[in-house]
Symmetry: C2
Subunit: 288 residues, 2 copies
């Protein structure tokens, strides 16, 4: 595959900075241009070898780019792409790093001019820390990186972007945006909501709270571990992927209510069947 | 404290066998008598030094006992105590090892003759394995052991039983039966129901199941770990502690529905407050 000439990265935080560092470390582009409104972040990114050149002007920085990563906070992704897409060159591929995809993809796809390709992306990497200071060239190694093309996406462009991202030592998956949103809601956002509700239920059971805190052991600890994570990250998961999260929570409640009815009815065989079903899937998942 | 003369243990499974082994290993009684309907289990228990003498007759085996542990399956606890309590000697203390307490305690307390004391017990120790073969003298070390006396319980008898159990290197708690049942529902049975429902929800989300299985990582793994545990143990938790489990699940659903409404409304500050509440309690719990 031909080496990419210019990669532009808009947003020099944890993800943008780490992308720049990984691309430069593996020498995957002739030039990496970084964009931020904060000149100090750009200087730090330069010191960390996350970029070759920098600019505070996204239009200037992207006009010669072959691939543009938009790694701003999620609310700024669509406005940023609107700003730069009229002036990027023909054949430019724009991708983002937002953690929910259906809304962004449908918003952007109708907006980019002919000859410019937008492909939604989601690197499932993160850290409790944030900002360029926390960026590292190893951030993506072994993590999942998802691309969400549509039926309209140019196949060659997808191949070119996949080629670059595949070299970051990630597990690359190419799936529809709606499936992506449902899947991350199911394996990440729904479990967080459930863990939070578990802890808060204990918190609110006044007459037994102290005894629960005393008796709780490894089962409760593991089931609720993610409730002790970063609050801002959790809040953003719920806000940006709202529709899929609410759907998964509805389905979760239906599943829990089924089990509740079986417990109420007290039929041991039916309770066992429900437990067996979960045990089998859970065991298969982590058997490898 | 005066050394106990005779301990009888009815039921030579994992718990009964391990109790015998621990009591004999620490030399806490002059004699341990084991009871089982299965002579092979009794022979194996003898070989493992879980008992000094054995019998298949619970009446014969308990008539001279100072303390009787009833460690049969939960459904057999009340019938067993009914059988032996008329013939045990005055001053005998009977305790059980059932994992829910309110029902057993109220059933038995009105039933034992004057001069015989029943005190509900729950050693919170277990293993994926069961039976005398899995018994070990270390089973209780560092685990919680709960006693659930009532206002009618003889104080001296409680002191005597606590003295024996305290020497098994357990964390002994003395709490009312109803609080016990609610607490174990909250920290053990409710989380199991929730973990099972989480896995089954993923299982039933046909259009995204495969992607979920592919993307699931440490968060989902930990939140659902207990769903891969022993099915019979789970089923018994739900059957024997039904009332408390159903109450905790109702309160859990109310807590989850509150979070759902906040996600629906989309107020970031309120979502964060709910996450902060859980994070604080969870962090305090396992901060050591």
């Amino acid at each position: 595959m031909e080496k990419i000439k210019t990669v532009a990265i808009i947003g020099m935080g944890l993800i943008g900075g780490s992308l720049g560092m990984a691309i430069k470390n593996k020498d995957l582009a002739e030039k990496v241009v970084g964009v931020s409104r904060n000149i100090d972040h750009l200087k730090e990114a330069k010191e960390k070898e996350a970029l070759d050149e920098y600019s505070i002007d996204p239009i200037e920085a992207t006009k010669d780019a072959d691939i543009v990563f938009v790694s701003t906070p999620i609310a700024a992704i669509a406005p940023t792409i609107k700003t730069v897409c009229p002036t990027v060159k023909k054949g430019c591929i724009i991708t983002d790093v937002g953690s929910s995809k259906a809304e962004i993809v449908s918003q952007i796809e109708g907006l980019v001019p002919d000859g410019v390709v937008f492909i939604g992306g989601h690197p499932m990497a993160g850290s409790e820390r944030s900002g360029i200071t926390a960026a590292t060239k190893f951030l993506f190694e072994g993590t999942n990186y998802i691309l969400t093309p549509t039926s309209k996406t140019d196949k060659e462009a997808l191949k070119r972007l996949s080629g670059l991202i595949g070299q970051l030592d990630v597990k690359l998956s190419v799936i529809p945006a709606a499936v992506h949103d449902l899947a991350v809601a199911g394996i990440s956002h729904m479990p967080l909501a459930v863990a939070v509700a578990l802890v808060n239920t204990v918190c609110d059971t006044k007459e037994a709270k102290d005894v629960m805190l005393e008796l709780a052991s490894s089962g409760f600890r593991d089931t609720t571990r993610i409730a002790a994570g970063n609050v801002e990250m959790g809040r953003d998961m719920f806000s940006t992927n709202k529709k899929a999260v609410l759907r998964m929570l509805r389905e979760f409640k239906a599943s829990l209510e089924k089990l509740e009815r079986l417990i109420e009815e007290g039929d041991p065989a039916k309770i066992s069947a429900e437990l067996e079903k979960a045990k089998k899937l859970r065991t298969d998942m982590y058997a490898a």
